[in-house]
Symmetry: C2
Subunit: 454 residues, 2 copies
C-alpha cells in the first residue's frame, strides 16, 4: 500500500541540494550561452549568412539541467526557403568558424551533419536547422527542437525543481535517457509530465496506476492511435508520440519504482548504492550457486556511436537466443554489455549440453500428404533412433546436430542475422566463453554488470 | 504411393494357411461346443431352471477365430423377468455344476459374476445373462453379446477368411484387442468392418484415408455424436459406438500400417519379426548413444486383472510425468511395463539434473493488485537469486526445490494422484532407478520392451 502522506519537503530539499545548479554554476552557463550566441552570429555575418538566427535549446536553456552536466544545444536556424545543400555547407561552415575557438571539435551526422565541440569546458552541439512556421511542417527532425523549447519555456517557470526531482528519480531508476541504449524517458518527456501532472509527487502517484496504452494529450489535438506503451502526444506536433522510444520494460520499471518509493520515501531512490565489481572468487561462488550454464559471445567493440551500436547489439542478442532455442536449448535470460574495447552478449541456459536424442514431432497421420512426406523423409534419414505415433502424430527420435551449445555458437554464429557493423566485427573474430572462463574478462565495468547478472 | 494392384491371392493364401483353423480343429471345436451346450442344459434342468437357453457366441461360434486360440464364450440365457439376484445365484450354480467336469475353474466378476473354466483344453467363459427382446433394452452389458452374435452370423457367411486376414493384420500392427491395456480393435469391430467394406483389401484401402471422426453406420439408424476417433454405430443398438475403446494412437497406427502395407505387400506385416531381449551390454551402449536420462519407477505388480490394472498404470504414467513437468523437467517420453511380479513406469528426460536457479514469471506490472502481491511474496522469500522485469512482467530467479529428478520422485511420488490398487502397492514400497541401474532388471519381457524403448 502506498502511504497517503506527502513526500516530505526536507527529502526534496536534500535531493535538490545535490542536483540543482548553484547560482555561480547558473551564471557561468548563461555567460557561456551568450558568448556562443555572439560568436555564431558573428561567424554567420562573416560568411555571408546574416539572416541566420541563433537559438539556445535543451535543458540548459530552460533551467532544467542537472548540476554537473555541461551540455549546451545551440541551433543555427536558416530561413525555411534555404536549399538543403546550402543549409548543410553554410551551416557547417558557420559551426566550424565558431569551433576555431573550441578546445575540441568533431563532425557528427544524424539526419544532417552537425558539429560537436568542447567550448570552455562545455559539451556543445552546433546544429544547423530550418526555421519553419510550425513543428508539423518541419523539413528535418532537428527543426522540431526549437518548438519544444518554446513550448516548455512558456510553461515551466516555477516548476524547474519538480523537473529536476523527476529527472534524478528516473536516473535512480535507470530509465532516464531516450538514447537507443537506454530506451527510457527523454528530458523533454519529463518536462511534459510535470506540465501535465503539475508536480513530481503527482507524477509519481499517477504513474503507479499506468497501464500500457496510457495516453496524455496536453493540447487535446490528436486522435491518432499509437502502439507504444506510453503515448504523450507532442504538443507541437499532433502526429508524434514523444514517448515513442520508451520500451515496455522501462515503462514498467518506472511504474514499479514509483510504487516502491511511495512505500518508503528514502533518498536512496534518487541515489542508489553502486554495485561493486565482482572478484574472481565471487564469480566462481555465484556460478556454483546457480549451477546453470553461462555463455559469453565476445568480440571487439565496433567503432560507432552508441545509437547505432546498441540496436545492433539488441538484434544480435535476439538472434543468438533464437539460434539456441532453434536447437532446443532452454534460455533463461540474455543480456548485452559493451565497453570501450570489448563487447559481449551474455546468455544463461538451463544447460549447455543436451542429450544426443531429440524428439521431433511431425504432422497428424490423417493429413495424408504431409504425413507421407514426413514419413518418407525420416525412413531414409540416417541417425534416427526410432519413431512412434503420439497424440495422432508421427514422432521421431533423431540425433541432435549440436548437443553442445558452445559448439553450436562457434559453428553457426556467423549465420545469425546481424547488423552491419557488428557483423563486420564478429567476422574479424569472436570467442565463446563458458562459465568459469568468464573470469578472464577483467574490465571492472563488466564486473559491475556481472554483479547484477549473477 | 500405394500401388493400384490387388493384394496377391497367394499372399492371402499363405497367411490363411497359418491362421485358419484346420478341418480337424474346427470339428473338434464344434464337438466341444455341442458337449458344453448339452452339459449346461442338463445342469439347468437338474437345478430347476428348465427355461434357460444356451447360446454359443464369440468368434468360435461365428467361424472367425484364429487357429491356435481356444476361447469359447457360452452364454446361459435366463428369461427377462428373472430377478437379478436369482439370475446371479442360479446362473452361477448352473455354471459350477458344469465346472465339475472342468480341469480348472475361477470365479470372475465384470458387471455380473461369471465363471472361467478350462474344459478339455479350451478356455471357456460361462456367462449368465438376460434374454431381452432387443439390444437396446439390455439389463446388463453382457446381454448385448447374443445380439452381436446373431447380427454377425446372419451376414458373415463366405467372408470368414476376410475377417481372419484383418484380425491377423491387426495383430501384426499391434492394434488387435479392445482390452483397456491395448485400446485397439475388438473382434466384433473387425467383423463389422468386413461386413461394411466387403473385404480385407477394401478395408485396408479405405482405412488409408480415415480421419478422426470417421463414421460407419451400417443400419443407418443413428445421428448421435461421438467424440471417439472412429465411430462404428452398433447395428444392434444405435446409441452405442462399437469402437469406443479404440484410442487415437491405435487408430492412427492402423492407418499408418495400412499405407505401409499397400506400398509393399509382404507377409511380414502379418507376422512381424520378434524383438529380442536386450543384453546388459546393449542397454549400456544404447544409453550412451542417447545421452538422455532414463528413470524407472519400480514396484510390485498389484494382484488384479489387467482391465483394472492398466487404466491405473496409464493414470500413474500421466501423474508422474505431470509431477516432473511441474518441477520443470523436460519429459521426452513415458511408458508402462508390467510383468507377473514387477511393474514399472518408464520416463525419458532431457536431463535428470536442473540448475539450482529457476526462472519464475509473475504478473504484468500494470495488473496492480496481483503485481503487488507477487512482489511482496518474493521480496520476503528466502532463496531468491534476483528479480527483474521482462516483457512487462515481474520475473524472479528462485531456488529449484528439486533440481534432481530422482530425488523429486523419491520424495513426492506418494503425493501423485494414483489409482487405488497401484497406490496400495506403491505405498508398500517403490524404487527409483536411473540409467545404468536399469540393468538390475532381468525379466526378459522387460528387456524386449526396452529394445523398442531405447
Amino acid at each position: 500500500m502506498e502511504t497517503g502522506t506527502n513526500i516530505p519537503d526536507d527529502l526534496k530539499q536534500a535531493v535538490l541540494e545535490i542536483i540543482k545548479p548553484t547560482v555561480a554554476e547558473r551564471r557561468n552557463l548563461i555567460g557561456i550561452q551568450e558568448e556562443l550566441a555572439t560568436e555564431v552570429k558573428a561567424a554567420a555575418e562573416k560568411l555571408g549568412a546574416p539572416d541566420v538566427l541563433v537559438k539556445m535549446v535543451g535543458s540548459a536553456a530552460r533551467g532544467t539541467w542537472l548540476s554537473g552536466t555541461h551540455d549546451i544545444d545551440t541551433f543555427i536556424c536558416f530561413p525555411e526557403e534555404t536549399p538543403r545543400k546550402e543549409l548543410e555547407t553554410l551551416g557547417m561552415a558557420v559551426a566550424r568558424e565558431v569551433a576555431k575557438l573550441a578546445e575540441y571539435a568533431k563532425d557528427c551526422h544524424a539526419e544532417h551533419p552537425y558539429l560537436n565541440i568542447v567550448f570552455k569546458g562545455f559539451d556543445v552541439d552546433l546544429v544547423p536547422c530550418f526555421r519553419v512556421s510550425s513543428a508539423s511542417h518541419i523539413k528535418s527532425a532537428v527543426d522540431r527542437t526549437p518548438f519544444h523549447n518554446d513550448f516548455v519555456k512558456a510553461r515551466i517557470k516555477g516548476f524547474e525543481d519538480e523537473v529536476l526531482l523527476l529527472k534524478q528519480f528516473m536516473r535512480g531508476c535507470g530509465v532516464y535517457g531516450s538514447e537507443l541504449k537506454t530506451q527510457g524517458f527523454s528530458g523533454y518527456l519529463t518536462e511534459l509530465l510535470i506540465i501535465h501532472y503539475g508536480s513530481f509527487e503527482n507524477t509519481v502517484r499517477k504513474a503507479c496506476f499506468w497501464k500500457p496504452g496510457e495516453r496524455i494529450d496536453i493540447m487535446q489535438h490528436s486522435k491518432i492511435k499509437h502502439d507504444e506503451p506510453l503515448v504523450i502526444v507532442d504538443p507541437t506536433d499532433p502526429k508524434r508520440n514523444v514517448a515513442a522510444a520508451l520500451s515496455l520494460d522501462k515503462f514498467c520499471m518506472f511504474i514499479d519504482f514509483c510504487r516502491d518509493f511511495l512505500k518508503s520515501m528514502e533518498i536512496k531512490f534518487f541515489f542508489p548504492a553502486c554495485f561493486l565489481p565482482l572478484k574472481d572468487k565471487e564469480i566462481l561462488q555465484r556460478l556454483e550457486n546457480r549451477r546453470s550454464t553461462q555463455l559469453v559471445v565476445f568480440f571487439r567493440t565496433p567503432d560507432i556511436v552508441e545509437d547505432v551500436l546498441y540496436p545492433q547489439l539488441y538484434k544480435m542478442e535476439r538472434s543468438v537466443a533464437a539460434l539456441l532455442m532453434e536447437y532446443k536449448f532452454s534460455v533463461i535470460k540474455t543480456g548485452v554489455w559493451s565497453g570501450k574495447n570489448e563487447t559481449l552478449i551474455m546468455l544463461e541456459l538451463i544447460s549447455g549440453i543436451l542429450p544426443n536424442v531429440k524428439k521431433h514431432i511431425g504432422p497428424p497421420i490423417w493429413v495424408k500428404e504431409h504425413a507421407e512426406k514426413f514419413k518418407e523423409k525420416y525412413d531414409r534419414a540416417k541417425e534416427v533412433f526410432g519413431g512412434y505415433i503420439e497424440n495422432g502424430r508421427y514422432t521421431v527420435e533423431i540425433q541432435h546436430k549440436y548437443p553442445i551449445a558452445k559448439e553450436l555458437l562457434e559453428k553457426q554464429l556467423i549465420n545469425c542475422s546481424l547488423g552491419k557493423n557488428v557483423k563486420h566485427s564478429v567476422n574479424e573474430g569472436f570467442k565463446i566463453m563458458e562459465n568459469a572462463e568468464i573470469c578472464t574478462l577483467k574490465d571492472p565495468n563488466f564486473r559491475v554488470f556481472l554483479s547484477k547478472w549473477l
